[in-house]
Symmetry: C2
Subunit: 227 residues, 2 copies
DNA sequence: CGACTAATTGAGTCGCTTCAATAAGCGTGG
DNA sequence: CCACGCTTATTGAAGCGACTCAATTAGTCG
């Protein structure tokens, strides 16, 4: 598996030049970095923390389109307006770039555009998987798939950062609260809660506190996620 | 708006070289060009007709991830296996490439990779819009959005091909049957039928035969699609 | 420890699905 | 050109999964 960090595609000197273009910035949890519909002025590389990408209907119902973990690239290149909102789910640290400056730099560095293309294709695959979930799967399947995907991606992020082994984690803290899980899975908050409790009672997962989850029977969870 | 055809990004001589790499192929309606999960050996440029990209759950429920129109690029670059099925909804004519050969060519032609990146970002935007639909909108809103999107994209495809004006069409034939509309919108076929009839009775659209649709009140349709 | 927020639980409703039957569209052959 | 048969679409009735509204409980933080 190749590096998930965009700028690793670049030669050291180019990477340094790119580094000079961006600036490190921290935001507290809850901050919205980009609003949907507003000018798309910035793009960013997530260094630490978790971001949500979301969009909402005219009557205010929110749908989370994706969640970004450390090493992920976020922002809409080559479009004048942002099509989704970007909000910090935890305190975050990002490397910010002006969109146009980044685009100009990318034009000069085909390897970077190549890395962006691969990254975007991976995002598209994830969006497709989520489409199948939202369109055709039951509440239980969606919640199960969410837990499985989260454990995988948290492991990957840890791996990219501190160099773990990349094995999916069985015990972790949810970066999202119940409402956000509901917004991601397209369910009501009560349905998420009931489903989680049902898994808990069935011994498939263990819940401790509001945020902690332990996957006790990954195979069963995978079966539920399939159908 | 820039050209929607990938290879227009290339200089004439490069375009000709790419042309020699591909081969024109026709398939009758109903043919599956790529199966999900099988080796991703080919990619293609759609010349005429309509393709559906779909995926399904273990228990056989299908979800259409997207629909491709003339000038669209289809196939999963840089991945060993295809993540979705590609099926011809009408008779189609495509320009086929070996995936690996196309990738190698793209490496040599940054302008092509750039065009692919923009194309993929547009696909991602569409997937995001569909996520919001499936996760948070009612059956009526989904069907209305489908009709509006279709009229827009048919006009664009016509524009790219024959050089029309690109205005959304008010009268057109559906390239999908009711079941396929259901698979695209994540609804049951009966719900699609009922919704279409409801729009018809309300004078928002006119229906003739199985496939023909005429949008009579685009504004009202847009309002319904919003909520 | 107390106050506030987040999560859980219960009851009732609604929208969509499912199952079943009818009707319409369309190609075929007489 | 029309009758026939097959496929596709429509319509109806019933059921259920997830939502909504409301109340209770559990966590968390000062």
């Amino acid at each position: 598996m190749r590096s998930r960090v965009i700028c690793n595609a670049l030669a050291p000197e180019a990477r340094e030049a790119l580094g000079r273009l961006g600036r490190i910035q921290r935001y507290p949890r809850g901050t919205t970095l980009v609003w949907e519909g507003e000018d798309s002025r910035i793009v960013a590389n997530l260094l630490s923390g978790v971001l949500k990408l979301s969009s909402s209907t005219a009557d205010g119902k929110e749908q989370i389109l994706g969640v970004a973990y450390p090493s992920d690239f976020v922002g809409r290149l080559f479009a004048p307006v942002a099509s989704y909102r970007v909000t910090a789910l935890t305190d975050v640290e990002v490397c910010l770039f002006s969109r146009t400056a980044f685009e100009a730099f990318a034009r000069e560095h085909p390897a970077l555009e190549h890395a962006l293309l691969e990254h975007t294709l991976a995002d598209l695959d994830r969006a497709h998987a989520q489409l199948l979930d939202l369109g055709r799967r039951s509440a239980s399947a969606r919640v199960a798939a969410f837990l499985l995907d989260l454990s995988q991606r948290l492991a990957e992020a840890r791996c990219a950062a501190a160099g773990g082994d990349g094995q999916p984690l069985d015990s972790f803290d949810l970066p999202l609260d119940r409402q956000q899980i509901a917004d991601l899975t397209g369910l009501a908050i009560e349905t998420v809660s009931r489903t989680l409790q049902k898994f808990h009672r069935a011994g498939i997962i263990a819940l401790a506190g509001r945020r902690h989850v332990e996957i006790r029977d990954r195979a069963r969870l995978a079966t539920i996620a399939e159908a």
